[in-house]
Symmetry: C2
């Protein structure tokens, strides 16, 4: 059995790379810039070059590499074809085949970045020990990755787990980035929490520390911890949307655990105090015992999950 | 390869049985009563006896039977254990093991009835040609079965696909059968449509054929087809709840197709005229092409899917 595996996480600004042993220990990790000019045509050659350089540096033979896993920001179907990665300048790209041919036929596996990160959290992060999980990333947007029986649920066209765009509010007048109105992402992302806070600040006369300086998801949850009433109302709104949304997902998927990551999750376990009431109130009784945990791998979840795709 | 397979669908009143060849042609089908007295202890022995009688009648040797698939009304986990089947009087029952030992070790596979029916519709019904589908049963309640890559998605505790109990309405004062308030089932089932119609009749002064005689899902959709304005408003409400609910499910699962069955589906394609507007308006753009079809196997979906479980 080959000793090594590479995990690659392609972001809009940088590509993260990791060299792992086949037990999942990270031996090295590094980054290269993502060159999105020229329709992103340099991205895969740059990755191939970086992997080859690392193999030379570490004296690793090709036969001793199980393969390369890649997570990319766009819908990736079961064949490893990515359909439109707007942030990379790609239209349609056969990730598996293209990168493999740049690496003299080395095995390559590809997946959507959020799904791949979910696999990473299952393997070595907040979801260890669970084969059925939903990873929820509360960042600039809301991303999701669904793992069923230890495998990524890709969906028919690579849109499985796009939980940021489930409809949760009929009365929204501001459009989501996706073009719809009332998506979960509009209330549960970092930008969403800021939106809720600014609306609340405008609608209410209540005093609040949030009235001093710029509002962000971080300042909201810092204020929540300090007992700020208005911030607590914002957290309740956030938790109501997210708790109800996750309850629906639980009723559909029946996972063992939700693993919550992304920038907003830095607020910590206090998030669960606001998510659980709406979740518990609306979830199907057969799914009441669904667990919640915090993601632990941070920005490394992607390279871990990418490596795991190859080892599976 | 064994030539025959049995499919069994255990209902609260009758058990449906089918004898299939291994290509999925039904050779015989029949029913026996479900004896739910004495904690349902006779149900599996009755089924075993009925299968053995059929084998004698048809001169079928045990070695020529691939196995017996069973669908049952309750959450069935991956190991074939059913956890509480209230309608049968069962608490916890190892379906696979118990029935197999009553059949001298014959192979038995077990699943939740709604999930098994979904598999049947995929194999020989309205979902033929699709490996990623959600079957939606609009009957007395709303049931669901989810198929991912040709396999039933059981969920962690057998509650996968319980889509009747996803929360869709915050302002509901009447409890659902499950104990929660505002479940999809309260508006999209036959009883739900009747509820919506009765509320509308009470709240509105509008003339309607629904004011004559008893209201049911059938009379509502008959009236819709006859152009009755009030009935059309009811159908719009029904379609709004169901369309939005299915859009959420699409965003989570990204199936190729929704297969709509159950008594309400007898109204026919007109249902889609009311479901699609809310679906199209709220679904994530990557899932906009999700197809809709009507189930075609009716009450036989369960025995087909049960047989298919064994052949997989």
């Amino acid at each position: 059995m080959a000793e090594y595996v590479f995990g690659v996480d392609i972001g809009g600004t940088t590509v993260k790379l990791g060299l792992f042993d086949n037990s999942g220990n990270v031996l090295d990790k590094w980054e290269i810039p993502t060159r999105t000019d020229n329709g992103g045509t340099n991205i895969l050659p740059d990755i191939a070059q970086s992997i080859q350089d690392k193999m030379s540096e570490k004296n690793i033979d090709k036969d001793n590499v199980a393969g390369v896993g890649v997570g990319a920001p766009g819908p990736v179907d079961g064949a490893g074809i990515i359909h439109k990665a707007v942030n990379l300048g790609w239209d349609e790209m056969n990730l598996k085949q293209e990168l493999s041919s740049l690496l003299s036929g080395m095995r390559v596996e590809g997946g959507n970045d959020a799904n791949v990160a979910a696999l990473g959290e299952m393997w070595k992060g907040g979801g260890q020990g669970y084969g059925n999980l939903v990873a929820v990333t509360l960042g600039t947007g809301v991303g999701g990755g669904i793992i069923i029986n230890g495998k990524i649920m890709t969906g028919a066209t690579g849109s499985g787990g796009e939980i940021g765009h489930i409809h949760v509010e009929d009365e929204e007048s501001e459009a989501c980035g996706c073009g719809n109105y009332g998506c979960l992402e509009e209330y549960a992302s970092a930008t969403g929490i800021t939106r809720l806070a600014n609306r609340k600040l405008q609608a209410s006369d209540k005093d609040s520390v949030l009235r001093q300086g710029e509002v962000s998801a971080k300042t909201v949850f810092d204020a929540v911890k300090a007992g700020d009433e208005l911030a607590i109302e914002v957290a309740q709104q956030f938790g109501d949307y997210l708790g109800k949304g996750l309850a629906v997902i639980a009723g559909v998927i029946n996972p063992e655990i939700f693993v919550i990551g992304g920038g907003v999750s830095k607020a910590g376990e206090v998030l669960f105090d606001y998510i659980r009431p709406a979740f518990d109130k609306t979830v199907f009784h057969g799914c009441k015992d669904t667990k919640f945990s915090l993601a632990t791998l941070g920005n490394d979840a992607g390279i871990y999950g990418a490596a795991k795709m190859v080892l599976d």
